[in-house]
Amino acid sequence: MKKIAYAVLTILLCTGLSVSASIDSTPAAETPLPLQAVPASGASEALERFIFITIPGAFGDLDRAPVRFFHEKHTKTLESESCETCHPRKDNGTFEFTFPKQPDKRSADTLMNSYHDACIECHSERAADGREAGPVTCGECHVALPDYHKTEYLPVMPSYYDPLRDTRHGECLNCHREPAKAAEDAGELDWKKFRVKVSENYEAAWPKVGFDYQLHDKHDKALEQKCEECHYLSPQQKTKITAETREPKCKDWLQELDPAGSLTEQETAHLRCINCHLARKARGEKKTGPVTCSECHTDGVRPADAMKDVPRPECEQEEKILIRFDNETRMPGAAFNHKAHQLRTRGCQDCHHETMRACKECHTPAGTEEGNFITLAEAYHRETSAWSCIGCHAQEKQRPDCAGCHHQLPEGLSVTTACGTCHSGSLESLNRARKAPAPETLIPDVVEKEWEIKLLEKEYQPAKIKHLEIVQKLTERVNKSALATYFHTEDITLCAGCHHYSPLEKKKQVPQCSACHTARIETDHQRPDLLGAYHQQCLGCHKQMGGTEEKMPQTCDGCHEQKKQ
């Protein structure tokens, strides 16, 4: 047991950075990594960022609050000195980012003492010399912060609970209020208590660093396209990358640093990045790369649009692929444009997780442990995951430009006719993307450009609906979106945003809203009445598209002129 605790300890302190990342070891991290951000945060703010030195299991119940550690403050103060002040240096000159240099792991007490010795000794020495020094008394480091270290448990329903079928399970619901979805997503579940651990509430001090295309391009240029500096398979294969060895396989490329394969992604990244940057600095090269926390760990995410002109990494991947695994599968292959997706993502890891392998290697048809038992079909189709095709597209549809129509429409795989859009069976379908035609060619001639709705004429002047103008604006926005131009397969698809559930044909009149939405409130509550339908459709779209009050009014007076009395 203690061995494990020490292993955790070494791992945690290896980098001296975010503790929470290691504690939060939930395997199914569904969201992609937040990627490298644009501006560095303010210098003073970075100095105030801290991590907790906590080693779960090593010390049992703590007598004092865990220590807050300000790494950036230390690097700033010790700028003139080397990392060696705190971190052990190997014979070949590289650093291991662990602390203290020689932890005494015989017992909890000795371990504690090695921390105390390392910190306090240095602090008091510096204070004696009259240099800037850190605290030496207990309470100055062990500061109790009630906002942290909270573990909340949330009661959940087991996955077999069906809220629609089991409408009378009032008794169970007295304690378990959340349906099963939350439990599955949260990862850690105590089935005895039917409770999900919500948070450890150790706030990550630094946002994760994402290696996006811009950062890759920067390295590419600085290293003069010597890919092998970072991508190599093993020490033996540290040669110029050839066609066969070009793709770094899994974590093999970390072997030199981590023969046992026990280090986390974060720890290896720190070992490799910082050591390389330090070595370049020592050699006196011009472009060295950052070595302090705040220089890499910046807030915010650089959006894909901001990297339009950044060249994408060269890879052996074909530009267009027909995703198809064997001829036995029922669906025809799905046509996929890899290059188009490269242009609209922030980094390779938006889809590829931390390796550059093909999806099917980990996500086999039956599922493997490596692939988190997510099957091949699910890897592409899971609606709730931002890694999957469907999930990512669903997220895209939440953008204001799309959400106006899509927030009301049935989504995802519930629309069975949508399968063929991807599963076309031929690469030719990739050429399908084309602009939506001008609305005049679709709207029947008998339809006026604008008309009045007099439903509330007792209270207000008639409301004007500028039909043609609305469709023109929508067409304009749709034509800007690559996703829409590809997936709106018919010329008339756009019309379905408002004219839902009605047959649509070019130049043919569609049934009026009042054909389904009656003037009276229906007692089965399946659909809103006419008044509700108009308001929900118009205002719902205005709200989602987030337009200005002038162009997309969200108040009564915006559409309805007051009657003069």
């Binding site: 809220p163 629609l164 409408t167 009032g170 619901l173 007295n174 209020r177 959340e178 349906p179 979805k181 939350a182 927030h407 049935p410 509330l456 009276r520 409130i521 007692t523 089965d524 509550h525 809103p528 009445d529 008044l531 509700g532 308001h535 929900q536 205002l539 719902g540 709200k543 987030g546 969200q554 108040t555 009564c556 007076d557």
Partner: protein, 298 residues
């Protein structure tokens, strides 16, 4: 259910309620009838037009008439309002942490299934109708305001300004003005966004769950009021945590369930008075015997 059936349904419930108001049950027992009516409020739809406030003001002639301009005035959203003697319902605007767009929430009497005000009322001025409405009778009211203290949602207001005939004021669920005429509450009818759905409570719960299931991203997976305080007639769906939109975190146990067992057990079989009288009788008997004995001595 068709329209005719629906109306029959409502009228039979209210009729039956009027007919057999007699059977005296404890308020904790009378609560969850399957037929009771309810309203489901979908706060994700509300745009804060306050048509409901206006309709409420118009349908209740004993409320002070407020000019139309007041209901067009957006500045009321600047502060958190509460129901008062001149308004049975208010709409507030919130800015929860997880959303950019403001959220509007309508408040009124929740018409609990197990109303604490009914339990607290000494004279039976508050009653719960089988239709779901918690009805106030100003003729019986003695003005003790226990109902105001008992309400977990702090709904009832009081006419402090009226010196001679102050009343407790709260939403009536349009019980006398509309429900009895087979009409739906005025605010529900007036809402242009159809934020509120009116119908049998069990059906509304199914509708609410269907909405949550179909749009898991849009809603917090919980119907507020389905179980809170033993269940309420007005239930809410929301995208933001309910505490952030002023719907308090309450237990699922009916509020009168905490007090009534104590009171009812304590006073069962007339026990405390009997005990007191027995004690007094004992003391009397003892004193008498003592004086008798001392009398004997002399």
């Amino acid at each position: 259910m068709n329209r005719r059936g629906f109306i029959k349904h409502i009228s039979s419930i209210t009729g039956a309620a009027a007919f057999c108001a007699a059977p005296k049950k404890s308020s904790a027992q009378q609560g969850r009838s399957e037929e009771s009516l309810a309203v489901l409020v979908d706060t994700t739809l509300c745009v804060g037009c306050r048509a409901c406030e206006q309709a409420c003001n118009e349908i209740n002639p004993d409320l002070p008439l407020v000019p139309n301009d007041f209901f067009k005035d957006d500045s009321v959203f600047e502060r958190r309002r509460r129901m008062n003697a001149s308004a049975f319902t208010v709409v507030n605007r919130y800015q929860p942490n997880n959303s950019e767009a403001p959220v509007h929430v309508k408040f009124q009497c929740m018409h609990c299934l197990y109303p604490a005000c009914v339990s607290a009322c000494l004279v039976g001025a508050m009653t719960r109708d089988a239709s779901g409405a918690v009805v106030y009778d100003e003729k019986k009211c003695i003005g003790c305001r226990y109902c105001m203290a008992a309400c977990p949602f702090q709904v009832p207001a009081y006419e402090y300004a009226s010196i001679l005939t102050p009343r407790v004021r709260k939403c009536t669920f349009c019980f006398k003005t509309r429900l009895k005429q087979n009409e739906i509450p005025a605010c529900v009818a007036a809402c242009p966004m159809r934020v509120m759905t009116f119908g049998p409570r069990a059906e509304l719960i199914t509708i609410g769950r269907t909405r949550i299931r179909k749009n898991p991203e849009r809603y917090i997976p919980h119907i507020y009021g389905e179980h809170e305080a033993g269940g309420t007639t007005w239930m809410y769906l929301a995208a933001a945590p309910f505490e952030q939109i002023d719907l308090p975190k309450l237990g699922y146990h009916p509020i009168p369930g905490y007090t009534e067992p104590v009171q009812h057990t304590l006073f069962k079989w007339f026990l405390p008075p009997l005990g007191l009288f027995a004690m007094l009788a004992g003391a009397m008997w003892y004193n008498k015997r003592k004086s008798k004995q001392s009398g004997d001595d002399t």
